[in-house]
Amino acid sequence: MITVTELTKKYARHTAVDHISFEVSRGQIVGFLGPNGAGKTTTMRVLTCFLPPTSGRATVAGFDVLEQPLEAKKRIGYLPETPPLYPEMRTDEYLAFVGKLKGLSGAELTKRIDYVFERCAIADVKSKLLGKLSKGYRQRVGLAQTIIHNPEVLILDEPTAGLDPKQINDTRDLIKSLAGDHTIILSTHILPEVEQTCQQVIIINKGKLVATDSVNNLQNRARGAESLLVEVAGRNGDLDSATVKGRLERISGVTRVSFKDQRQNRSTFEVESRKDSFVRGDLARAVVESGWDLNELRPTAMSLEEIFLQLTGEAAQAPPKEEAVPAGASR
């Protein structure tokens, strides 16, 4: 549905997109992932025929963005980072205007407008001015605008940016529900979003393609070995972590045990094993037979976040988390 070959986009001084190639097949939701300034928006603007590529080719629904832009544009619904709304228009006027721009008219236009009102749950703001809508509604009207002409491809630039958690969920559900009829590319720098909504992920960093794979494969690939989190508790009184660690290490298949934490009589360990050995049963038995309690035993899948940092090699300069070291504290 979308083919990008050796796409490069240079601006006056810097190269925003550097020889990127990827393919997206029909009906998929693809997450376009990268830190801010990685070249996500530029790539999307090339795909939507807004910017011409410096070199390389891009085709959407079989039409080259440079040679047959009008045909390609008919098959694309595009939501830029800020929804392109005219504040002085009413919602229904706006959708009628966009519908006409995209080539709809008459009864078909009316039908599609009714459809998107229902689909995007915006019927209750039908005759409100766009300038007066809340952020969540603006985003939904923006989405309604992308699907009004029932395009084959949807290109969404950070569709959940700046929404509150409930709105983010609603928007994600809406996007997922659209996947059946449309091929969707959505860009984001929020990793859980990709894990939750997308089947495939394309990671770019500083204009270069870092990885492109299905979300599952990517998680597997980065994991290599299986790793388990184990919490063991002593039945009466204290628990000697070193003893437990020694016992766990003797289980066959276990490659490494690392002590993580101890609270009163409970200790947590991270146990790594070879991928194909099924150590969980042995592990549980060993703990119980030694007279301890097994409080917790769960696989620790590597989150996309870790994969992402690993792939982009930016672990050192990762943005600080909200609850990170308070300002002024020093190590």
Binding site: P52, Y78, P87, E88, M89, G103
Partner: protein, 255 residues
């Protein structure tokens, strides 16, 4: 063509849901009302005076009343035109809606024509206000309507040319004030270029004076349909719209 109509309707609507159109119409009605009252008063005064002196040379409503008034309209138009065109593209660039237009299956030229025609239509609406004043002349006098019609045609052509230039300038910036200010400057310059012909007759002066939009309005205000002047305005319109198209295209290559 259908797309031009879609854009045209959207632009006309946005002129009339914002205060822009009402402000321009009101301002113009007031200013022109004053001009009209003033010119009529002077016309009547001169008429009475010549009668009292007993030398009743014939006075022509077209020559001595309508013609200076048409020139007044064309000058007031210079001030209104920046206000009509400044938001056309600057606003779309500022709010990001230009991305919607640029990624829709319509041609740049259709967007440009739709916007320019909307601007011309608003100006024509403003001109229509003056018809109310002129209607009184037809009630109490007997002016030649053909001369007046040619005058109106000239005003429309002149405004069309300046509006095309204003549309072009509006594509150059995100800031409406800058677009308006620059358009005003260019309009003013195209007006005053004509002054050099008052004392200079060199080739340069003639070229400069030829470039002035006012020079070419002379014949229209006299009620003459001179093809060379009409061609001048049409050329400027094409040139302005052509520049707009190039500028829109370059947005894509630069941005």
């Amino acid at each position: 063509m259908r797309n031009v109509w879609t854009i045209f309707r959207k632009e006309i609507r946005s002129y009339f849901v914002s205060p822009v159109a009402y402000l321009l119409l009101t301002m113009f009605a007031l200013i022109f009302g004053f001009f009209f009252w003033n010119a009529l008063g002077y016309f009547v005064f001169v008429g009475m005076e010549s009668q009292m002196r007993g030398q009743s040379f014939p006075m022509n409503v077209n020559e001595e009343l309508i013609r200076p008034l048409l020139s007044n309209i064309s000058v007031v138009g210079l001030f209104l035109i920046p206000m009509i065109t400044m938001r056309l593209f600057a606003e779309e660039k500022r709010t990001g809606t230009i991305e919607l237009l640029a990624t829709s299956p319509i041609r740049d030229i259709e967007v440009i024509l739709g916007k320019w025609l909307a601007a011309v239509t608003l100006y024509a609406g403003i001109l229509l206000l003056t018809a109310v004043n002129f209607a009184f002349l037809f009630k109490y006098g007997n002016p030649d309507w053909k001369q007046l019609a040619i005058g109106y045609l000239g005003l429309l052509l002149q405004a069309g040319a300046l509006l095309a230039i204003g549309t072009f300038i509006s594509t150059l910036t995100k800031n409406q004030i800058i677009a308006g200010g620059a358009t005003f400057g260019v309009c003013l310059l195209l007006w005053v270029l004509e002054w050099v012909s008052g004392y200079e007759t060199s080739t340069w002066a003639r070229v400069l004076s030829y470039m002035s939009v006012i020079t070419h309005f002379e014949s229209f205000s006299k009620g003459l349909l001179a093809s060379k002047d009409a061609i001048f305005y049409v050329t400027v319109i094409f040139f302005g719209l052509f520049l707009t198209a190039r500028s829109m295209e370059s947005l894509r290559w630069r941005s």
